[in-house]
Amino acid sequence: MEDEKKLIQFQQKIDQDIKIEPRDWMPEKYRQTLIRQISQHAHSEIIGMQPEGNWLTRAPSLRSKKILMAKIQDEAGHGLYLYCAAETLGIKREQFLQWLHEGKAKYSSVFNYPTLTWADMGAVGWLVDGAAIVNQVSLQGTSYGPYARAMVKICMEESFHQRQGFEIMVQLANGTKEQKEMAQDAVNRWWWPSIMMFGPHDSESAHSNQSLKWKIKRESNDELRQRFIDKTIEQGHHLGLIFPDPNLKLNPETNHYDYSPIDWDEFWNVVKGNGAGNRQRLNHHIKAHEDGKWVREAAIAYAKKSNLKQKSA
């Protein structure tokens, strides 16, 4: 009974766009959904550093190395903001890492694809960050306060990510024949994975309705996907590159681009961990975590010792 009354008041707050804060009452399912979604988002930022780290030493100029480094540093920051937001729901940082390492928590499967050429750094920034931005701009309006505030900060930082990617694409698309082919090849490989980043169609998405009602999500997967497609195609025309979908056409009735059916078998295959990079990404994260163990131990010992000194002084 008590809970039912609270549930009604909770929904009223949501409907009035009042943010929910960590110590407010919330339905257990709201908390669980947020724990899953925010930590998955955090893991994606952190794992997402790997395909780019792969190019740090091979980026073609000092300028591009510095830019790539700055982008990767931003992604680390995004992961940390999000872990902090997720921790306000009562789960410890250690637990989130453990769930990731045990394969219980997911991250965006787009980061399981390999980054084969320098053009992939362009395509990742333009398409993968571009898709992430569409999602994150929408999430600035999410109902959970700490998550919304993290999103505002992240969105401010993301805008250079997509631009630097697009700049790489412009350079290659206007370069030699080989460079142009490289750019086209990267678009061929990254177009579908970035469209799939928005998740299953609304009709197939198990959690979607409740999430929209609680304003955890503000727009549906298909709405966000369509927004991304519409604006990206126009950008692609400037590059003179072709998207790997013969059915991409502006529909004069809806004023949106139509696209071919998505190959969900491949999507689920990669989500379930059969992607080429899945094991590699996770093992790399586990190894880095274990290799850093002695640093954490030393830092704890040092903090304890200087605490004692302060007290006796």
Partner: protein, 96 residues
């Protein structure tokens, strides 16, 4: 790996410009205050967001009780004479 080795929680406050108030921007994990300060700089001021940083151990923050928020702030409810709009000033009087 479930042992607690990720450091403690700190809250970060940034002053955008000299003369402005410090505002909460977020939190971070660190093992001691020097590390917390460096992490705050690297995490929250990568684009000249600040002129000054305060960091506070989250456990040291004392906050009002959210559950009796209404009664706690009660004393200010019936004192409308604290607001300038309470007072009637004759028409034509300016700059007051």
């Amino acid at each position: 790996m479930s042992d607690e080795d990720q450091g403690i929680l700190w809250e970060v406050f940034i002053q955008v410009k000299a003369g402005r108030p410090f505002k909460h921007v977020g939190s971070l994990h660190a093992y001691d205050k020097e590390m917390a300060m460096k992490a705050a700089r690297d995490l929250y001021t990568r684009r000249n967001e600040g002129n000054g940083i305060w960091i506070v151990k989250a456990e040291n923050i004392i906050s009002s009780d959210i559950n009796d928020g209404e009664s706690f702030f009660d004393p200010s409810n019936d004192k409308i004479y604290r607001h300038p709009t309470f007072y009637k000033i004759p028409d034509g009087v300016k700059h007051i």
